[in-house]
Symmetry: C3
Subunit: 411 residues, 3 copies
């Protein structure tokens, strides 16, 4: 059994990693000096909003598989708790290293949490198909890749923290999808049964969706510097989310021959507005463009959720468990296109704009390219025999990883 080997390897990996992290923290980090601290705790409520999104929202968003709810929720916390430690270290070395010390403050913890959310997004695509050790490897590689991507965006394209972070959706989606594409595909018959949703598990997924919906404005505005831009970002995100929630439910009915709504579409498209408005949320100056964007993001997400799994994924041999492609990938790309459009509209066809378009296109393509490349590399590594990956028969099954002391019948 692949699982038996986890008994030794899992604690060993954790021991090695945590020792390494603690040593790095010992030599290279210290807390902010008292004098500078007084302002920082103002960011604490925002940090908690984002924490709720990561720990509850993204966890329960993935909890829809009937027999995989425990792993979805618990492994999500594991991934976050591990990833955030690495993310803060890399963030320190790459972005704020001075005089040999990384200064820890709430802003850096927020950055670390948001960076690690890329893994939480990607893991939706490989959900149920990897074990905890593979998840550790993926976390280490993806956090590193995303920190690298942000560094490139900031240094070569001259973007700021907010703009580089907002590409998390595109990066995370394509990273996850590529890893999933590399893994052995689930056998159709066994998987169909285990992948079933139950009304209760879908209700937990809805709970996750709602947590994300509520606190998304915080996510989109957390890294914006000027208070008045922050406020605009909050409003734009709110309006985009409101419209995409309405669109999600009503247009899902249009895709079904009996006019029935698909709960999975709702889980995808409700959040599409928040994803799409991410990169432009501080540039849009009145509610209506955010609303229009939320409208089309919702529709694109539903169209993706309807047609990608049956057509595109089948052709290229991809199994994207939580359909992160439709949830985060497509709306993210739409947002990127709108960003380019806004740059052009704002400046007219002046020289400056002509110069800025390649940068914007690079801004749009770089995260996607890094996601695909990083995902391919990670996928190949995860396919090594080394990790005792679960066999395709054992996919989507909590019982491969969890002790069920008293087996209960049904869900």
């Amino acid at each position: 059994m692949g699982s038996k080997s986890l008994r030794i390897s899992l604690p060993l990996w954790t021991l090695i990693l945590e020792t390494a992290f603690i040593v790095v923290f010992f030599f290279f980090t210290s807390y902010e000096a008292p004098l500078k601290k007084l302002e920082l705790l103002k960011k604490y409520p925002g940090f908690q909003d984002i924490n709720v999104m990561a720990v509850l929202g993204l966890a329960f968003l993935k909890a829809s598989l009937r027999r995989y709810t425990w792993s979805s929720v618990a492994f999500n916390l594991f991934t976050l708790a591990l990833g955030v430690q690495l993310a803060i270290i890399l963030d320190g070395f790459l972005f704020s290293f001075s005089s040999g010390r990384i200064i820890i403050n709430i802003h850096r913890i927020i950055l670390g949490t948001m960076t690690t959310m890329s893994v939480l997004i990607s893991s939706g695509a490989v959900l149920g198909k990897v074990n905890l050790i593979q998840l550790i490897v993926m976390t280490l590689l993806e956090v590193t890749a995303f920190q690298g991507t942000k560094k490139l965006i900031q240094d070569f394209l001259n973007m700021d923290e907010h703009e580089s972070m907002m590409q998390i959706h595109v990066f995370g989606a394509y990273f996850g999808v590529t890893v999933a594409w590399c893994l052995p595909q689930p056998r159709l018959h066994a998987a169909k049964d285990k992948e079933r949703r139950t009304p209760t598990s879908c209700l937990f997924t809805t709970l996750g969706t709602l947590f994300l919906w509520i606190f998304w404005p915080t996510f989109n505005s957390a890294l914006i510097k000027y208070p008045y831009e922050k406020e605009t970002a909050v409003y734009n995100t709110y309006y985009a989310l409101a419209v995409s929630a309405v669109v999600a439910m009503s247009f899902s009915a249009a895709t079904h021959s009996d006019g029935k709504i698909s709960m999975e579409h709702v889980h995808r498209a409700t959040l599409a507005g928040g994803v799409a408005v991410g990169v432009t949320t501080n540039l849009i100056q009145s509610p209506w463009p955010a609303m229009v964007l939320g409208f089309f993001a919702g529709i694109i997400s539903i169209v993706g959720a309807k047609f990608l799994p049956g057509c595109f994924n089948e052709i290229i041999g991809l199994h994207d468990t939580c359909d992160v492609h439709s949830t985060f990938g497509l709306p993210g790309l739409l947002g990127g296109l709108i960003y380019i459009l806004l740059i052009i509209i704002k400046g007219g066809w002046t020289n400056l704009v002509v110069f800025q378009i390649p940068i914007s296109v690079g801004y749009l393509c770089l995260p996607m390219a890094m996601g695909l490349a990083g995902g391919l590399l990670t996928g190949l590594i995860l396919n090594l025999n080394l990790w005792k990956a679960p066999s395709a028969d054992k996919y989507f099954d909590d019982q491969a990883f969890w002790e069920f002391p008293h087996l209960a019948v049904g869900f």
Copy 2:
């Protein structure tokens, strides 16, 4: 099948409404100017508290029906996302229209969310008996009616934002009950089975109740202007809620021949203190009157939950799915009576008070009258053949609206 028609009509309605909203927002709204913005984001945490109440609290509060959990939670979000757009537009035109522009800021979004919560309250009474199109119509009509009610209270009775908003419970409850009274009643036998609660669905309802219980002090203090009154409002609400939570559980046992507690009573009466103390929360100057009020609100709510469905409702032929009458209506009326009492006690029988009593009585009766009238009108409209309402056989059934890709047995 009534549901098939939703395939075209639902997206069409949404398309028309969202287009209309976007056009209005295009012509009439803009964001607050940068200079004024700096203070406003301070209200953001309070906004999120209220958002949690609306999106999670009121959603899961209605999630107790065994076969209607999905619709309860998802339609609640749909209603909120749609209603808040209309509410902000109407709020702008009625209360803050100047020089041809509606200025959007966080305060107006809070007002819009709170206003739309009237629909979320009312929808508890018609839960399971209307389709999504009827819910759209009801949202449009009720938001308009409640904005009108608040305008009347503010202009003719000289009340402020807080005082007019706090009548939401009475207005929402009687609006919802009247609409429910107009709709075809569920057939007893089929409904009994579908209306069953399961332990799990009731636990989700408890989750909703707890979210509401926690953040109610924010709701009752959000619109109060002076910081020291705001603080008193928080404390009073907290004490009233604490006492009504204790009363809810212990006095529910008194109503059962075997001394068993009814979970439905708990869902109703736990929140009664928060409802009842709403209109007087900034007038009460020490904890004990709030506690007394919470005590009696809890008892009235339990008595209502015990005796209304079997007696009153049966006589007048009313089916109030979530018993909003006991949860919001009766404690709201109690709060109104205490308001009048406080006005009298404070002023003694001076001329001023004699003059104020008719105003207070108007303040108490107007929302109820508007709720009854608006509910009657809405109920008659919802009864038109136009909306392809679900037949009484199909009440309380998620399967009428939702695609179940893999039918699961039981909950």
Copy 3:
């Protein structure tokens, strides 16, 4: 039937207690004067974080028993709502009584909520084995005992509010365990079936765990006075929690012969870091000691969860339903030991330190001793025939207390 008697005695107890509380509040309390209020509401978001921990976190943490979910969650709210009223009164008389008045402000409500959380912790050990009246008695006694303990720590050991409150875990755990030890033990066969966890009930428990995990930094920093210490406290708690979450999942696999993770270990050990770092959270000056502490706290908690129930508990005849000993007791003791160690390291072996060590040891032992003594007294009182305690056959069963209007099959 024991339950029938609740019909009269439960409302009677509530009536007497609430009347008493209201009378005390009438004679002895008033709200803060307006002028002083302006600053206080800044603490409101922190209060809400702690409220979420108490009302949602500690409630759902106990919701894992298949047939006892309702009571776990609802009785938790009841206990909190009742206990906080007494806690505020006692807190006023013991710690802030001046010129005959207790001044109520948000800080005192925070203190009251945190104090009552001791009962919410202890009730995990007696979960399913007491009725609501016994829970009332336990609440009254434990709140009083913990307020006394804090008074002793502050007056005789010269500690501050934060330091005295942080012993809540040790006090609560040993209080609860001792009460559980005094109660009649459950009959093995019947209990085994009713104590079963289901996947869904465990998911609710995970939800509670996650709420606690997210907001624990607020809990550990709420009572710290200086803003820069508060910030350090937040960071240390966050790092300790991150490491213990990683350790919880990976080292649980090491305790199972097939390398499977136990969800119950995860529920215990994920939070161990937050418990352990409590008393030293403002003394640790960089992330790595907090991480080391989180690491060992997680391991101790898992070792406790693995070996205590089968060995120690069996020998002394103890049934600790939610294993509060491993969750709160052991990590709390570890934290206390580290506190003594830090005092020694900080000062070297100077006279001052030699003088401080007995104080620190007293600081460590007093809450444990008070917990054991208070628990013993309470346990003996709860064993009186007076309370119509549920018989050991009826343990862990919602149906003893709750009306199930339509009995559902299974969970």
